[in-house]
């Protein structure tokens, strides 16, 4: 180990710890006081995110659980840049990207959606879809051939790692494939070029049980082999227990509980369900209290 920092590290003066000659990398993802309200001022107004704070260090694998409508997808969409949040900040690798467009962030963020139709272009072939993903960080306006022979060979090898036999179907329109196959390919596309951050939004929710198992295994393998920093929303308590090293529980746009370390290692499905019940009873209490107030004042 050298006592002098590498030349490129000198610029990162903030990340440089004096004396220790050790470069502390910025967190991969930092979400600061993020809030967002949809349809503000209408009858449908909904506060989807409320002062959310979240930090993912490089290599962290965090799962997010919560009831329907608790704001999980909205959180991931905000991180991906699908909309501009009302307030708060989002930092990727230490850079403030809050106002950066979705496609720009996509250079560093891989993403798999709940809907298998969203992540792939149905009328393009498997090879064409993958080729676009391989060019994630390149400008298409710098003209070059999209699918050369060597590139096809490279893609074929990458598809082979999925172990689904899809390497022989590179020229099939991707819309002809099953949901599970498309989701596996979307996961491959999201990680073909190693992303800083991988976002998975209930990516097994729309699949049949057999495909769920395949895609979960694949997710585990891809995340651990590439040591990917991952934020994964799941509807499955089993997955939340089985995968990742931290669990976030969201409720009404807030992160209400965070389970990490030993507690996460010992976590069982029953614990999670119990926590949910607790939340639900608090909710009931809230509503009966509101009811009481209404009766008193109206």
């Amino acid at each position: 180990m050298t006592t002098h920092p590498a030349p490129e590290a000198v610029d990162m003066s903030e990340a440089f710890v004096h004396g220790a000659a050790k470069v502390v990398p910025p967190p991969t993802l930092e979400v600061r006081d993020l809030s967002h309200t949809f349809e503000r001022g209408t009858a449908n107004e909904v506060r989807a995110l409320s002062d959310v704070n979240l930090t993912l260090a490089p290599g962290d694998f965090v799962t997010v659980v919560g009831m329907n409508g608790s704001g999980k997808s909205t959180l991931l969409n905000a991180v991906a840049g699908a909309f501009l949040p009302d307030s708060g900040q989002i930092l990727l690798d230490g850079e403030d990207v809050t106002r950066q467009g979705e496609f720009r962030r996509a250079c560093h963020v891989g993403r798999v959606f709940q809907d298998p139709l969203k992540g792939t272009a149905p009328n393009l072939t498997v090879a064409e879809n993958l080729s676009l993903a391989l060019d994630r960080t390149r400008n298409p306006f710098v003209l070059r051939w999209a699918l050369t022979g060597s590139r096809r060979a490279e893609l074929r090898e990458r598809v082979r790692t999925l172990q689904l036999g899809l390497e022989d179907r590179l020229d099939t329109r991707i819309g002809m494939l099953s949901g599970g196959e498309r989701q596996a390919l979307t996961l491959l596309m999201a990680t073909l070029v190693k992303p800083s951050l991988l976002l998975l939004d209930e990516h097994t929710a729309a699949l049949d049980p057999r495909s769920v198992e395949q895609v979960v295994k694949l997710t585990e393998r891809v995340v651990s082999s590439q040591r990917l920093t991952t934020l994964m929303v799941t509807h499955s308590m089993h997955q939340a227990v089985q995968l990742g090293d931290r669990v976030l529980m969201m409720h009404r746009g807030r992160v209400v509980r965070e389970i990490r370390g030993r507690e996460k290692q010992q976590l069982r499905v029953e614990n999670l369900l119990a926590t949910f019940d607790q939340l639900r009873s608090m909710e009931l209490l809230d509503e009966s209290a509101a009811d009481m107030l209404r009766r008193l004042y109206v």
Binding site: A121, P140, W145
Partner: protein
């Protein structure tokens, strides 16, 4: 035979219009009303430059460029200013109509005294000893001018079609196809879908403008009437291509659109030869389009209907 070669030439020229419409309508998945405007705009720009003595190649290229600008503006008005897709096309087409009249200083210009692609081809034909009277093909007279026109349009259009086919195998062509197919996917792999969409409309209307420029040279004059009904003509070519041919590969589809344009012109020529007045041309086009939209479906349905049903 003259009629046949005339229809073939015109079909070739209008196949670029068909390809332009195919790009916006099928590849970018949008309905682009700019087309009517950019066809005439390409013709006007090329026509005015020809009367100023510019070589036909460069005048045609300028027609392509003019169409590109029109398409890019239409795309930008939609994606950057947030005007709806139909309105942005309509706005640009309407603005171009006035611009055409201003540039031409009237409703039409004649190219009779300019060196257009067909007249240049005719000169070449004579220079290489082609008989002025024409030639006999399958024993039937074809005038030299008609033949020269066809022989000049074939390589011009052929080159353009070849380049379009190649273009959609490049990084930008593939990005356009992805953007039209699934914009969310395009963004997720780092494609600036708004910019690619605008570029796609530029390419689409560039082809339309080039088609207009060649069409003006084919008929030897430019008229503001050229801005009427071109979108429908292009859509008809696409409809014929898709109704008859259900090719999978993009190359097959591109060839299909070219074929569709030629078929459309042949049908129109036959209708004229059969004695239908020229005023009914658009009516013939509309009827043919309706037929190719409806008939293949009817045939398929009949096949699928169970006998005991």
């Amino acid at each position: 035979m003259n009629l046949l070669f005339g229809a073939l030439s015109m079909g070739l020229v209008l196949s670029l219009l068909g390809l332009g419409v195919y790009i916006s309508y099928r590849i970018l998945d949008t309905f682009d009303l700019t087309v009517d405007g950019s066809f005439a705009f390409g013709a006007v720009i090329a026509g005015v430059l020809l009367t100023r003595g510019l070589a036909s190649f460069w005048a045609s290229a300028a027609g392509f460029l003019a169409g590109m600008v029109a398409g890019a503006i239409s795309g930008a008005v939609h994606r950057r200013l947030g005007v709806s897709r139909l309105l942005s096309g309509l706005l640009v087409a309407t603005a171009l109509y006035s611009l055409d009249l201003l540039i031409m200083g009237g409703g039409d210009i004649s190219l009779a005294s300019t060196r257009t692609l067909p007249t240049q081809a005719f000169d070449l034909w004579l220079r290489f000893g082609g008989p002025e009277s024409g030639a006999r093909i399958f024993g039937i007279e074809v005038s030299a001018r008609t033949l020269a026109t066809f022989l000049s349009m074939l390589p011009a259009v052929g080159t353009a079609v070849f380049l379009v086919d190649r273009f959609f195998r490049t990084s930008l062509g593939l990005a356009m196809r992805a953007t039209g197919d699934n914009a969310q996917m395009a963004r997720s792999v780092g494609i600036d879908d708004a910019r690619v969409f605008i570029a796609g409309l530029a390419v689409s209307n560039g082809l339309v403008g080039l088609s207009g420029a060649l069409f003006a040279q084919y008929q030897g004059f430019v008229t503001i009437q050229m801005s009427v009904g071109m979108l429908v003509m292009g859509l008809a070519a696409v409809a014929i291509a898709e109704g008859v041919l259900r090719g999978r590969s993009l190359g097959a589809r591109i060839a299909g659109v070219v074929g569709g344009s030629i078929v459309l012109r042949l049908v129109v020529a036959l209708a004229l030869a059969a004695g239908l007045p020229a005023n009914t041309l658009k009516l013939v086009t509309a009827a043919l389009m309706l037929a190719v939209l409806v008939v293949p479906d009817m045939i398929r349905r009949r096949r699928l209907t169970p006998v005991t049903g």
